[in-house]
């Protein structure tokens, strides 16, 4: 009990520090990079005086640390991630040429922007992950139990083949086949759950081979462990050995891979959502970066780093449940 509490307290405080540093770095990078947000908002044709006024109003003339302090303060105290530079409440891109009309209230709240996109991405991610897990677990475990036989080779070869194909290429192929030729499923945009299917399949194809490899190598290395080989000599039954010992032991490497895959899932979402024009967080991120929408980029970076931290803590914690020897 105390060990768990101590673990969580230590890791969460470390995690908070990591997220804080990540925020600082992103904040700094965006400000030392080229481009003046005030100029961008005011529009290329605005005179210098109005740009300066806007700049002053947005607090861009404050010392760097004061700006950062206000930003972090807003997040911590009010959960306020600021407003988008570009997007209006209606969701359309604004800015550029509106000059003096630009007021803060027109612009979309970053948090609500994220809130509108996150569920879609989450749904896509979960569908892809779920599909990958469902397919990979039986194949991987079976291959692991048949280590050294053709079933294992087949699963390794199949996985290698799939893992070496880029996801955007697979996406293109599936769109061509299933949407254009067969007209079974819609390919771009989002107008209902049917739109999840194709991108989720692509995500799953990307992840499943890695899970298959993890399962098969974890299971086969467990079956070679001495205590598993000796277990039948002690009088244990095969089923008991598999479920109580082999599967338990293989869970730790699996959970670690799952953690890695969860974090790399974010990168995959960027690509897949862009390819399928799927209105999720990934596409929002790509657009925000291209449009230099600093508040949005910052918020996404902070949320992603927090996600990384939490996934890592969860992975270590759950691994510790399966193998109490792990000193978290």
């Amino acid at each position: 009990m105390i060990a768990t509490f101590s673990f969580l307290a230590r890791r969460l405080s470390q995690g908070a520090l990591i997220v804080f540093l990540a925020a600082l770095i992103v904040f700094t990078l965006l400000r030392v990079g080229p481009g003046d947000p005030a100029r961008m908002l005011a529009g290329g044709l605005s005179d210098q005086a109005s740009v300066d006024a806007l700049s002053e109003k947005m607090g861009l003339n404050d010392p760097f640390l004061v700006q950062f302090g206000k930003y972090v303060g807003g997040i911590v105290l009010h959960g306020d991630f600021g407003q988008s530079y570009i997007r209006s409440e209606s969701g359309l891109s604004v800015g550029g040429g509106h000059g003096d009309d630009q007021t803060r209230s027109d612009r979309a709240d970053v948090l609500s922007l994220l809130g509108s996109r996150l569920p879609l991405s989450l749904g896509l991610a979960l569908a892809g992950l779920g599909l990958a897990l469902l397919v990979s677990a039986p194949i991987g475990i079976y291959a692991g139990l048949r280590a050294g036989k053709w079933q294992e080779s087949l699963s390794i070869m199949g996985s290698s083949l799939l893992v070496s194909m880029p996801s955007f290429w697979i996406a293109g192929l599936l769109v061509l086949l299933i949407s254009i030729k067969l007209k079974w499923l819609p390919a771009v945009g989002y107008e209902g759950p049917r739109y999840l299917i194709l991108p989720a399949i692509v995500l799953a194809i990307e992840m499943a081979p890695i899970f298959i490899r993890t399962w098969s190598s974890a299971i086969s290395s467990m079956t070679r462990r001495d205590f598993v080989r000796v277990a039948p000599v002690r009088g244990l039954g095969q089923r008991q050995i598999f479920s109580r010992h082999v599967l338990r032991g293989a869970a730790v490497p699996f959970i670690n891979t799952l953690g890695v895959m969860l974090t790399s899932l974010i990168g995959s979402l960027l690509v897949i959502e862009f390819v399928f024009d799927f209105p999720g967080l990934g596409k929002l991120t790509v657009e925000a970066v291209l449009q230099r929408d600093f508040p949005l980029v910052q918020a996404i970076a902070i949320i992603i780093s927090a996600f990384f931290v939490l996934v890592n803590i969860a992975v270590d914690f759950v691994s510790g449940l399966f193998d109490p020897r792990l000193d978290y």
């Binding site: 001495d226 009088g235 244990l236 008991q240 020897r325």
Partner: protein, 619 residues
Amino acid sequence: MTEKLLSVSELSVANAARPGDAPILDHVSFDVAPGEALAIIGRSGAGKSVLGRSLMGWTEAPLTVTGGSVSLGGEEVLEAAPDALRRIRGTGIGYVGADPTRVFDPTLPVGRQIAEKYRAVRPGVSMKEALERVHELFNLVRIPEARHRMEELPSKYSGGMIQRAAIVDAMIGETKLVIADNVTQPLDVTVAAQIIRLFQDLRERLGTAFIFITSSVPTIKDFADRIVVMDKGRIVESGPTRQLLEAPQTEASGQLIAQSPKIWGTTAPESLSASDELNRPAALSITAVRRTYKVPRKDKLFGSVFVQAVRGADFDVYPGESLAIVGESGCGKSTLMRLLTWLEEPDDGAVHFHGKNVGTFTKKERFDLRAQLQLVLQDPYGSIPAHWTIGRTISESLRLHSDLGGKARRARVEATMAEVGLDPALYDKLPSGLSAGQRQRINVARAIVLEPTVLLLDETFSALDPMEQTPLIELFRTLQRERAITCIFISHDLALVRRVASRVAVMYLGRIVEIGSNENVFGRPLHPYTRALLSAAPTIEASPYDPGECLVDGEPPSPIRLPKGCAFAERCPVSRPECLESDPMLRNTLARGRIACHFPLARGMLESAETKEEISRVG
């Protein structure tokens, strides 16, 4: 024999992958009566372990049973259906192997795993009943704080304790026969002796029959009723223990018995005349060296515990001598070795090398020290890189420490290889396929190629069987004579120490408790712990120390919570109340040794009170 529990007849096992080879087991036949203790002895490779496993119906590919039968109480084991085999294994024959740490799942509490097994072999037993039964047996094999220990992971167990748990695991299904394959081999002598006593006790109480498989004859000499001698897969001789040991009929048995360790029947190696040796300035001098490890505590938010691995070790090593440091696992031997070689720095105290404090060495001096002071490691497999040629392994340190060119280096390495008895033609070969003895020669060559003045041998011989040990020991004698190398042996093998060391230091819980000449330590031990160690040493001859009287119970206290007084007091057969109160200092004996004990076994051997005071002031 009137009644048979186990009957093995004409059992043959062969390696299916090598059809041309001689069979591993060749028409082996013997019987075991209920409650009998049978020993199967033979040198390594004789097929003992394969036999032990075959009796359980446990032959893994490529080994295959090619003929014969094993029947337990009339039931055929080798042809049993999976379910019947499980029942036989759980309730008929139990098996305890040499490495009990690998029997249990490292992620589950030991007691629960044994209970799980009990329920698997005795269907219908509830978890609660099973745990109750485990608790009962944990008490029977004298695992202290059984209730608490049952819930601990295997990694929390010491070697002796996990062996006891493995014995419980083998016996829990009321097995009629237990096969114990080399069970004492990984254990410290006092613990091994306790385990043998435990087997005797279990046999008397439960009437279980035992098959004890070992290459160490002394281990079973007081335990077995009958001995079966195996050689090259065959039974060459069998008979009642005493009769067979006194008058072996075959060469194989004769050799096994002749090569068994002796302590009192052998003479100590000739040392340079003791006084000469000890009057020279020390080659290596260790003063009040301490090393404590800080280990974070899991059960507290902040805070850590301190493991006192070495607690003020004090001794000198003289040029040309061979000093052995003996002690059981966890006594700090290995930490001490790391301190001596300066792989780790002491927290306190000093190590002087030829009069110079190693702590004040410059980086360059420390680098040169490495060439002077070489290490020969324990594990002949792990310590040699498998993907390097033998020549490269040996010449690696030359490349670092000398400016010899490629050719000269090769010549030097080949000369060294010849010196340690390795064929120089092996220079470009990989070490795979070499025997443990050959590999240890590579280790020795690697250490002496730089012509060091001090060699540290950390359990160098313990991985070798007696057949391989003897020539290597001879090699060391020669090397030491010809090169005047100072040797420090770190070992738990007393018979070996008796053969190689001129002086012996006994270590207990991070301290030297007794140090003296080989003759004195083995012949007239002053410290009760030394005597306990000697009484537990497995030797073929009768020990002058009665284990019943001298052997200690339990295990050393944890180096985390050390008692206030003498660290040995709790286990000491002759301790008195004072021992629990004050910690004895190391003081001189008349025989030029030193001892840390308030009540040594022969008081007259101590120097007078004045010297004692002087020592306590200096030390």
